[in-house]
Structure formats: C-alpha cells, structure tokens
Homo-oligomer: 267 residues x 3
C-alpha cells in the first residue's frame, strides 16, 4: 500500500516565509511524511481557482493522502476549520466552499468541524491558521487517521455551486473558461465524457468551438499538430476541453479570460 | 525528541538552478534530513529583509534545526562564513549582519568562523558559497553537532542595530514598517508585548495609528471584521502590529513602503 | 555510497499544480526517494536554456541520480520519450535535443526509446507526459536501474550543436552569452580551462572583454572587488566566464541579451 503525503494548496505565494513555516510545524510533529507544494500561487482569496486546481490534482496522490488548503479570506473570523473525509483522500480547509469540487468527485460523506485545540499550536494567531491550526492538525491526523478525535461531525458546511457545462442536446454544449494556466491554455468545464459522445456521433473534425469572436474547427490530438499561434481545441490533462495554441499563449493572443462563455457545437 | 531540518533562506530566486544544486549537495552528504525552502525571494542583497524573515520563522522549526542563510553580496571577498549557535537552533551565514535579529532572540552565545575546508566542496568558486561552503557544512554539521570542528570561536562578528520601536510613554509608541508581505500587509516593528500594555490600559478601540496621511482607529481582531479596502491594524502572525486591508493590498492602496515611520497613540 | 535523488527541470512554472502532481505520482510509486526542483521557470519551450541549466547542475547531485526534464513542445506528437544513461547519472526527457549538453559531458553511451507502457500511468494524456510517462518511469527506474526494461536502445536520437566558444588563437576567444540569471549575471560559453590558459600566459589584468559597446578590462576575483554598477568579468560558479556587476543587474544596466557575441582578447 502506498504511503500518504501531505499536499499544500495556498494563496500564500513564495515571496514570504509562510509556507516554509508550515512545513517546519508539520515535520516537527510528524517527521516521516513527504510534503508536496501543490500550488501557492492561487490568486489571493480566489476560492474557486483553488477548488478547481485541487479537483484536477488530488487523485494523482497516494491513497489516504491529506490535502491542506489555505485560501482563507475569513481567517480569524467565526468561520470554522473543517476536515472532509472522502473515499480515498482527506481534506483540511476553512469552511468557505473551497472543497466544493472534491466533495463531489471523491464522494465525501463525512465532514468534521475541527476544534480539538490540543492538536493546534499553543498560541493561535488571528491571521495565519495555516500555521497554527491546519498544519499541525494535518500532521497529527496522519498518525492516527481518526477524524472523530478532531471535532464533531457537521452537515451545514458551505458548498458553492460547481459551474457544470450544460449539455443542450446531442449537438451543443455550453460551458465556460474556468482556469488559465501558465502556458495560456484556457481550461473549460466541458468534460471529456460529454465531449466524447459528440465525437463518436459526428467525428472530431465536425466539432466547432466558439468563444468571443474566435471560432475553432476540429478537435486536435496534440499541440504540435497545428501551426504556431493557430488556435486549437484539445482535451487537456485533467480531462477538460482546453483552448490552446501551439507554442503560444492562447489566453493572451485571443484575449480570453476566466468565466467567458463558450459554445461547442457540430458543423 | 523532534528530528531537525535544514532551512534555506536566500536571495537566489527560483528562476535558476542554484537552490536545487544546494539540495543535491546536502542530500549527497546527509540523506536523512528534510530541507525546507524558507524563502528564496529575498530582494537581492537585502540583508535586513532576510534577517527579519528569519526572526519571524526559525522558532517554528524543530529544536536543533539548522538554518542556512545565503544573502551574500560579499561572496568571494574576505568576509567570513560563520556558524552561530543559539539556545535551540543553529545558523550558517556569511558574516554580514544577517543574523543580527536571531542572535538576540535565540540567545546566541557562541559564534565560529568556519574554515574547516574538509567539509567544503573540493573546489570553491568565488561566486557561490551557498553551494560550495554553506550547504556541505550544514549537511555535515547535522551529523556531528560539534561546532568547534568547523572553526575557531570569534567575538568580532558583524551585527547591525535592530530597528526597535520606541516606547515614548504609556500613550505613544513610534515604530516603522520593516516588511511588506505578498498580501500587501505592512509589518511594523511594534511588538505585541508593548501593544498589549496600551490595550490593557486604554482598550482596543482607543488606539490610533498614523502613517503618512492615513489614520486608523481601533485594533482589529481579524481581517474580515472590516469592509473590503478599509484600512485596519491587527496583530500579525509573528506578533508584530500590521497595517492591512480586508481582501485588498494595503501597501499598494495606501502607498506604504518599507522604512516609513508610524506612530501609535491613544485617542 | 550516496543515495540518489530525482531532479525535475521543467517549463511548467509554479502557478499551476502540474509539478506537484508529478511528485504525487513519484512518491506513490517510490516513497523512499528525495525529489529536487532543479528549475521550473525555464521559458516555455526553451530547450537550449533547459539543456544549459542541466549541464551546470547535474554533477552536484549524488551518483546514480535520475534527472527528469520536461520541456516538451512536441508533447503528444510522435516524438519519443528517451532515457539516456551517462557514466554517473540518468536522464529522462523527450527526444528533442534537450540532453545535448549533458550527453557530451557525462559521456552518455546508451540511449533508450521508452515504450514500456506498464511503467506509465494507465491513461496517457496528449498534453502532459511529465505526469503520465516521465514521472512514473523515473520512479520505477530508481527501483530497478535496468534501462533495457524501459525500451529498445536507439542511436538516432536528436542532438543540437552545442554553442562552443571558438579559441581563435592564444590571444583571442570568441564566444557568446548563453544564459542570464536572476541577478543579471550574463553567463557566456567561454570555459575556465581556455580562460586560464590566457591568464597564465598574460595575466588577469591583461584580459579584455568586448560585448556591444561595453569593454571590460581585467578578470575579477569576486563581485565586491568592484564599485557598485561597475561592469566586471568573473569566472562564474559553473566555470563559465560571466559578465556581472557588483550589487547590480548587469544584463539590464548594459542591455545584454542571450546570444550576443562577445570577444575576449589580450591588451
């Protein structure tokens, strides 16, 4: 059986010492665990972005891994810290909806409001619960795997509505851009399962994507299939349809931003 | 007893391979140690910034940890590499004052000028002692914990004057902004011990902070207590008074920079 | 004998979760290995930059380490993934020339086209072979060290011409700037072996470097030898001649860019 890791997903950036300090706390409690920086460049307070990146990532980690999310505009306020237990993974986060996506996909059945202060740092600041509450709790949790010792089960935790693409009919799906990566690839919420049905019925060449004034015909198999800077659509690495360019930054070149609507239809 | 880690605090950035190479050296010598990136985005050559970040961080690491600091404008010159032994932690750094803060707070009693070349790489460059001297020395040190084997004790090491806030009287403290973090929080040198005395005597609501043309009334308990973009003051995660904004970048919005004077007084 | 590590050199950046996911895969397969981020800020698709950074770095890692390079504009296309076995190190990369430099310096004799799909992830995307092919292959390789189990040996792998400096005669070397680091140091392809011959014959003070309109006289021993912002030349940490400035950003101040020609001659 694979050994678990702790992943960290935060908006803390790497200009400061904040992430490093969280690791010091974790290894001080539990030396025999690997820690993975999943992403620290979430835009400050962007809960939806963090939720989506976590959804695209968590399943690639060993079973029983613990995922700590610190995107926490309400730090210090009465919002609760929670522990969500999925089928294969565990998640520590503030109760602000940031786990909405993974709660669905990892079939989270139980959520706990963390209040076992003996697992926290002795002194709790009002500005950095990643260090004072989440890091030490996650490190302790990996030793005992008993969620009930961290707090009471709750059912009124926050979830936001996941932006699911709308399958209008056999020939049309309406979705939107949910994330843009470093390469300028615009990741939509149209998932390959829905996409593949259209491909089976009509063929890859017949698909047409429309976003703003850009129209892309045909689903590509790989980036280098197209000329440099030619817009293309492709199934991205997390299974979602992407708008991309070979060796160029599609978001910048095509002026595409998050939350833009897109339409996928058949020629 | 917790096992120690090695932390790295540098101005090397992450655009290059420099930090990675230091880890290769460390693990080549001492495989059984965790390495933490404390911060690599110190502004090039900014010794005071590095000193302050280290001060805010080191106590969160396991006892006996080794902290390596490579902010080293004098690399290759006759400035010495040193090892400072505190009550609970060890520090490797160039002798340029970068340990001034932690020398005070971790009660450093002994400092050694490192010259045991058998712990260095066989070939020493004049431009990267982080790799050639500090990384291998720290890795070896964690095996033997004997500072005397690294060089002779010295007393004439460099220390700069730590910018301490001035408690004028019961009703006034004059300090300055010493650091600005990723979120735009402006961290001052007014420590919670002094602050709390004022709070006990006069109450949180009576405190007034003045910086440039900005006046902030009342000490907040958490960011979300205030409206978005409303200036606030709060005790930050390292115990220092911060000027901040709920969900906004105080430094940018209020045009606050490092070294600006601030006055805390009573209404 | 030192234990090996896995290094990662990519153009994936750290804004996304891509690198973190690769680590999840590696530790899921092989928990007992350290992973080093060598560099993730390679300019997207810049194969030459990645090749040079790898050349400057790999020899500082424990013997038998595995270096994974994911700078891969042709991902998903018929370009092959390869494993190159040097004298002391192993390299996983796409077959696009990115290993050209290390193939020469680590005396690579055998190269394999990786096609052992049982070492890959069950589902292979067309956009992220770092996760689906390279990470799991490297993690498995470190358990068995048998390159033949990963694919057939090939001889027609791609190599680009390494930009070697031209020694015109005893008194002149013509080279170029191949990389610029975070500090603005401009790293040339003039290696210290050639440089030292000139120094022995004529002395450090007699050397003259010309680049654009800048002329630098004398080889410096360390940065702080010169006044702030005074251009200098120095042997950098990888043994290559660098154009630098004490406490300033030479590339910006002198308007120097990659691929500019430089001439080193004798006064």
């Amino acid at each position: 059986m694979p050994k678990p890791v702790i992943t960290l997903t935060t908006d803390l950036g790497t200009d400061d010492h904040y992430v490093g300090v969280m690791k010091g706390i974790i290894w001080g409690i539990n030396y025999d665990v690997h820690i993975v920086d999943l992403c620290h460049e979430i835009n400050p307070f962007d809960i939806v972005e963090a939720a989506f990146k976590l959804e695209c990532s968590y399943r690639y980690f060993p079973l029983q891994s613990v995922h700590v999310v610190v995107v926490d505009p309400g730090v210090g306020s009465p919002r609760r810290p929670i522990l969500a237990c999925g089928e294969n993974h565990y998640f520590f986060a503030p109760d602000n909806g940031v786990l909405s996506w993974v709660m669905a996909s990892d079939n989270v059945q139980r959520v706990y409001a963390i209040d076992a202060t003996h697992y926290f740092l002795p002194k709790i600041s009002n500005t950095f619960h990643g260090r004072d509450i989440f890091a030490p709790s996650a490190a302790h949790f990996l030793k005992i795997y008993d969620p009930t010792s961290f707090g009471d089960e709750i059912t009124d935790y926050k979830r936001f509505k996941i932006p699911v693409a709308q399958v209008v009919n056999d020939r049309q799906i309406i979705g939107k851009i949910v994330s843009i990566d470093r390469f300028g690839n615009c990741i939509t919420n149209i998932f390959e399962d829905d996409l593949n049905k259209m491909v089976e019925m009509f063929g890859k060449e017949k698909l047409v994507l429309t976003v703003n004034t850009t129209v892309i015909k045909g689903l590509s198999s790989y980036y280098a299939e197209k000329q440099t800077k030619e817009p293309l659509m492709i199934i991205g690495n997390a299974g979602y349809l992407e708008i991309a360019m070979n060796k160029a930054h599609a978001s910048r070149e095509l002026q595409l931003r998050k939350n833009l609507d897109i339409t996928l239809s058949v020629l």
